[in-house]
Symmetry: C2
Subunit: 376 residues, 2 copies
């Protein structure tokens, strides 16, 4: 019995229902159908899940989806609309027909749909996050998909870093072909490269100097000599929907002694974190082990220092279960996670290094092969 069947049974429900576009990772996971317009998914216990789509999407849905495909017309939706029911009501009516009993729904199920559905059957909230839990444990196929995105990502990282490596400083500003080399140019080089590999780079961070002290600063303008440049790239494969995620920090020229020391601490923290990964290890313990490690090296973590979590799951969402943060639980084999310690000090700058890999029974199957060198 799969996880969703157990959850339906344990909830005393007849079926599980989800609603959303494929921007909703749960819907994408359950249907394997790409759509910008929302669709309905209903799975009765012990039966194959049903994807309900407009007539226009029928052929593509049959070809792409892992679910059984039914048109809205065949599911009765259009009749309810013709009878004058508003959209949410008609959708709920259709789900009620398909479920034929109490309905288990995910936490993000739309309130409007839940309230209409409640007039037909009880609506039970899946507080345990069953589908998030299923998504967090990757199959071998999913791991291969993610590895493949990671390979494209590392090649893109190399393209970006190659521009920085080839640049020359003029008055402290990096130049390439006699023009200032900007964060935008490095980002565009990587995104264009990724596009040709079928991957979409989104909000890739290329930040430099003072900007690096803010971990989520996208970065803008000319890159500087002797200053840390943080490149954090987390593209999504357009077809499969899976992400990779990696970060490197480099300096063209001479980093300050403070940056050098921070880099060494972060590199060692990453090695420490990775060395403790295995099935059964607790995410919060790993996080606090790194907090502790940084403290021993003289870096306290509060509003400065190590200000984020040690890592997170990666899959159809770039941030998903499990957490390697203060509230992280036990890891299981098949989790795909990042290990990404960082240190951030306004006035000095920031350093982050991030690898990704799979949790195994005995350790960390690191996907990331890309070199670690501060000075390029």
């Amino acid at each position: 019995m799969n996880g969703l069947d157990s959850a339906i049974r344990d909830a005393g429900a007849a079926a599980y229902a989800a609603y959303g576009s494929s921007a909703d990772a749960g819907v994408r996971y359950l249907t394997r159908f790409r759509t910008t317009d929302p669709v309905v998914y209903v799975k009765k216990q012990g039966e194959r899940g049903i994807l309900v789509i407009p007539q226009m999407e029928h052929e593509r849905a049959v070809r792409e989806s892992s679910a059984a495909v039914v048109t809205r017309a065949d599911a009765g939706y259009l009749e309810y609309i013709k009878a004058g029911e508003p959209r949410w009501r008609a959708t709920a009516h259709m789900i009620a027909d398909l479920a034929a009993g109490p309905v288990l729904v995910p936490a993000t199920f739309p309130l409007a749909l839940a309230r209409e559905l409640e007039s037909f059957h009880p609506v039970v909230l899946d507080a345990a996050g069953t589908v998030e839990g299923m998504r967090a444990v990757k199959t071998q196929d999913e791991i291969e998909q993610i590895r493949s995105v990671q390979r494209a990502t590392e090649a893109a990282m190399e393209r970006g870093i190659a521009l920085i490596r080839a640049s020359r400083s003029k008055g402290g500003i990096l130049h390439l072909d006699d023009r200032p080399l900007t964060a935008e140019a490095v980002r565009a080089e990587m995104h264009t490269f990724l596009l040709a590999r079928g991957c979409r780079g989104i909000d890739t961070i290329v930040s430099c100097g003072p900007d690096t002290a803010l971990p989520h600063n996208l970065g803008t303008g000319p890159l500087l000599e002797n200053e840390p440049i943080v490149i954090d790239i987390f593209p999504q494969d357009e077809l499969s929907g899976y992400h990779a995620d990696m970060t490197r920090t480099v300096v063209k020229g001479e980093p300050s002694p403070a940056i050098r020391e921070m880099y060494e601490a972060v590199r060692d923290a990453k090695a420490l974190g990775a060395s403790e990964v295995r099935a059964g290890a607790v995410g919060a313990d790993l996080h606090y082990a790194v907090v502790e490690f940084f403290r021993d090296r003289g870096y306290e973590s509060n509003t400065q220092g190590f200000v984020h979590s040690l890592g997170h799951g990666v899959g159809l969402e770039v941030h998903e279960e499990p957490s390697l943060g203060p509230r992280g639980g036990a890891l299981v084999a098949g989790n795909v996670i990042t290990i990404e310690p960082g240190l951030y000090y306004p006035g000095t700058g920031g350093i982050r290094l991030e690898d990704m890999g799979a949790v195994t029974e005995t350790g960390f199957d690191r996907f990331t092969q890309y070199t670690e060198e501060l000075i390029i």
Copy 2:
């Protein structure tokens, strides 16, 4: 008083609350903040809306967001977490504190959050879709943003069509530089061009021959001589989040008489639809006028023929209010809409032409300037 204030008052609520990442167009509209992780927005009646973000996002949020920015720590969230409340509970608790009374929420508000929030204050569903309604009427600034995406989109269309124009047929298959010219190559050319303009092409349709009979077929493989090629492109500006949307159908070589006639009917249907656009015109009436027009030309609309709506609103979502379909209501000045009639016949092929523009008091301010020529 703005629309949201009226809605809060009319609902007898104290505040409006929304939850989501910027993939949720309502959240993006209200906050103007880009984020892949969900954020909370709360607006009390008559007051400025508040965006609640993690500490790490504080500086960027202050710089980018149109809302007042408060960290989760300052909003009390972290205290509730420390006190052992689960994530949804702590989020609801924080929203309840900020709202200090009944809370109006959008239809897609997460059920888990609504159920927790209900233990503090009544949760009132905004059945009228107030924010969707606000989003449907664009400001002059928004119209300029969308025009700018449309300009990039037309330039991308020209790049794609230029490849087809420059190709030569060998045995019925279009070739460029002695290699078959594929749907993928045309798509990649357009996407790469768009990327350099800061826009992201998503699922651009480049379909040919039999594939064109399915309006949402993405298209794959070599393009064919004498067959319709449908190019439907709806990119999003990465920074502003606004979309454009346009479609052209071309043939390299000699189209069949049936395709020629369909093209003329679709072109005339588009002109008819556009000519009837103005504030006060009813979306459903426009749709059915085109259905009627096609019928007069001998094209019945059922599972073949004109199988989709005449058009839709475009903005932060590529499909949004208002609808120019069977259930479309009255248009208002400031709506940005598409007019996109199409005809689809398995065995013959499909034709679609799509323009975009703004509804004015007196007509249709068409943004699309791109030429209409079937044979290239």
